[in-house]
Symmetry: C2
Subunit: 399 residues, 2 copies
């Protein structure tokens, strides 16, 4: 039997999916499982996007332009203008989700053996894309005590080597919900200029900012235009993760010309997804007002509940729809499995993501979990109650 | 300004797209350009697939399973059964087109520096995927004189090294239209077993076989189950290239488990595309009868026309919707550009793909072009007339 690749062996398995069989078994035992483990919102997709799909009147579903339909990219440029981000249609490449857009970016910038610095905890799939591209992730620790703020610049400088090619931040952050300030991004700008590094920002949660705080995009860092790559997606913004439409945006023409070669090799991004995404640009503001209102209530429900639990702690982040909570537990992987396998409270339990999957430093995140507040407030209350009761009886409880 | 990657610099630019600006300029001069350069059919998408899209009644477009919707994979297994290919839903991973499916396969099997043997001429994007994965394509020459039949087994054996991990064939072939016989595939089977290599077959043109010939799938090579990977796509079968739905299929569980890690990293394939593709499985046989009838007429139109042109030659292939023709020209890149830039016959000209882009051996394909017969017979006659007249006056004519 022929061998599979070393790269394939090294590819990380999804830290969340390994729990799926336990969740399914729990359901078979009649237990209601509240899914707070994934970033699949329950919010409805804007009607205007679904209507565009239902009204499709073509007779032939053709390849689109490899960079995405020109009409879509032009409307996107208008959309960004409203958000004070000034780019042209030529500075956009549409990918099959932010996943593909980020992979194009990594491959265009880095060769196998090169290094990318990412504050941890970070979105677990960054590891997958990096392994895929053969590049090494160099994590910089951000701590729950500081609410996961940007680590001091010295930490970054200590990690920079001749192999370092880029810094990647997710803003607002998955998994922490942390919203980077303009000042923090200016620090990264100075670093990128000093060491001639790309600054990649995954801003797919841009619309999800709370407490009156405003998102500041890396695209507005003056003088950094040739170094900045913006990664974006319609998955969360319009609650349509399945359309698989994301973008990479940069004013660096050499980078975009290079990324286009990767884009051309795979022909084109999904046509129907682009139709939905183009129509979604006209989603009324009221949609976002309602959605933000709803998420804010959810965040408050979760954060308050956790901070009431003995020995537990959770910062109150201003973005996205995640929190990372510190729990009085020995091992978050064991705990999350135990919740599904051995625990229920009134026939209910909760599925969480062990934070270990969001750290690339071994041993970190052992007493942390990520909670996605993607269910309604009533469900969240039940889920938090189950978690509270679970912590009281968990055999691996600490402190 | 930070550097882009060496890999990015090495990524091949699309051999066809470099002609696009010349085609656009010709159109601006009022010249009608017949596009025989790409594999975008003009055939209508089955109504049943478009209806499924128009009838989408969900309110939320969620991620699908990373391997694709279970309902789709189950129906696909039934579809293959009808084609005498016996697989289960678990042996299928749905990708964003055959492009992604092939990339998953290559990455799961091969590490940077490994080698894959491909008979040339071959589909140009194989070069892009190989460069992307850091692997080296080792071409084996198949000649137009033999109609692009499988090269002798000795040629393969001469090329096998300790780095060789796989053989890739496209059957029916793009760009040659050649349909490999069962006997030829048995030769490859013996080779794969002898040297413990994967045999990857891109069978996206399976339905397009003519002259009463039947397609034989690598999935039916007995005793090779652990070595075979089937790549397939709905793009050509149902004329819906834009849905971006393809598959990789294998009975090798270790390979599929590995490929799943790449699939999970990018979350899921396009949801709307899967809806269209699942519905398309019920396309009535009459659709294919009509389509095949139409393509057969087109093939005959092109092949007869070319073989009537002085100094030109074209085999009469039994599959796909391409032919590679040998023309009395000095340089196919120059000739194809000249057709768009400096030539017209009654204000008409033709856009062809220089065959050089389908060879990885430098210097090959200089007097060959690929012709996609994706236009109706009347248009094809006009296009062939323009080509005939062009060859009479082309300054770089040879012989």
């Amino acid at each position: 039997m022929p061998n599979i690749s070393t790269k394939g062996k090294m590819m990380p398995a999804s830290p969340i999916r390994k729990l799926v069989p336990y969740a399914e078994a729990a359901k078979k035992r009649g237990i209601r499982v509240y899914h707070l483990n994934i970033g699949q919102p329950d919010i409805k997709t804007p009607e205007i996007a679904l209507e565009a799909i239902r009204n499709f009147d073509g007779s032939l579903v053709e390849y689109s332009h490899s960079a995405g339909n020109a009409s879509y990219r032009e409307k996107l440029a208008d959309y960004y203008k409203k958000h004070n981000i000034h780019i042209t249609a030529e500075e956009i490449i549409v990918g099959a989700g932010a996943s593909e857009a980020l992979l194009f970016t990594m491959q265009s910038i880095m060769d196998p053996g090169d290094e990318i610095i990412i504050p941890e905890p970070f979105y677990a799939n960054y590891n997958g894309f990096a392994t895929n591209a053969g590049i090494n992730v160099v994590p910089i620790n951000s701590s729950i005590e500081s609410g996961f703020a940007l680590p001091p610049i010295e930490e970054f400088e200590k990690s920079i080597t001749g192999k370092t090619k880029a810094i990647l931040v997710c803003n607002p952050n998955n998994p922490t919900g942390y919203l980077y300030s303009r000042e923090e991004l200016e620090v990264l700008k100075n670093l990128a200029l000093k060491y001639d590094l790309f600054l990649i920002a995954d801003e797919v949660y841009r619309e999800f900012c709370y407490d009156g705080k405003k998102h500041y995009s890396v695209m507005n860092l003056e003088g950094l235009e040739q170094h900045v790559v913006l990664i974006d997606s319609v998955s969360k913004r319009y609650s349509m993760c399945g359309v698989r439409i994301g973008v990479m945006i940069s004013k660096n023409k050499e980078l975009m010309d290079t990324a286009m070669k990767f884009a051309q090799a795979r022909l084109s991004p999904p046509s129907f997804g682009q139709i939905a995404a183009e129509a979604a640009i006209n989603t009324p503001d009221s949609y976002f007002d309602e959605v933000l209102d709803e998420y804010l209530k959810r965040r408050d429900t979760v954060v308050e509940a956790i901070n009431r639990m003995e020995g537990a702690f959770c910062p109150n982040p201003s973005g996205a729809f995640y929190v990372v909570a510190k729990l009085p537990i020995d091992d978050s992987d064991k705990f999350c499995q135990w919740l599904l396998e051995d625990f229920n409270y009134n026939n209910e339990t909760v599925m969480l993501a062990p934070a270990t999957g969001f750290y690339s430093t071994k041993g970190r995140g052992m007493d942390e979990v990520r909670i996605s507040y993607v269910l309604n407030v009533d469900d969240l209350k039940h889920a938090m109650k189950a978690l509270e009761e679970a912590l009281k009886v968990y055999p691996g409880r600490k402190g």
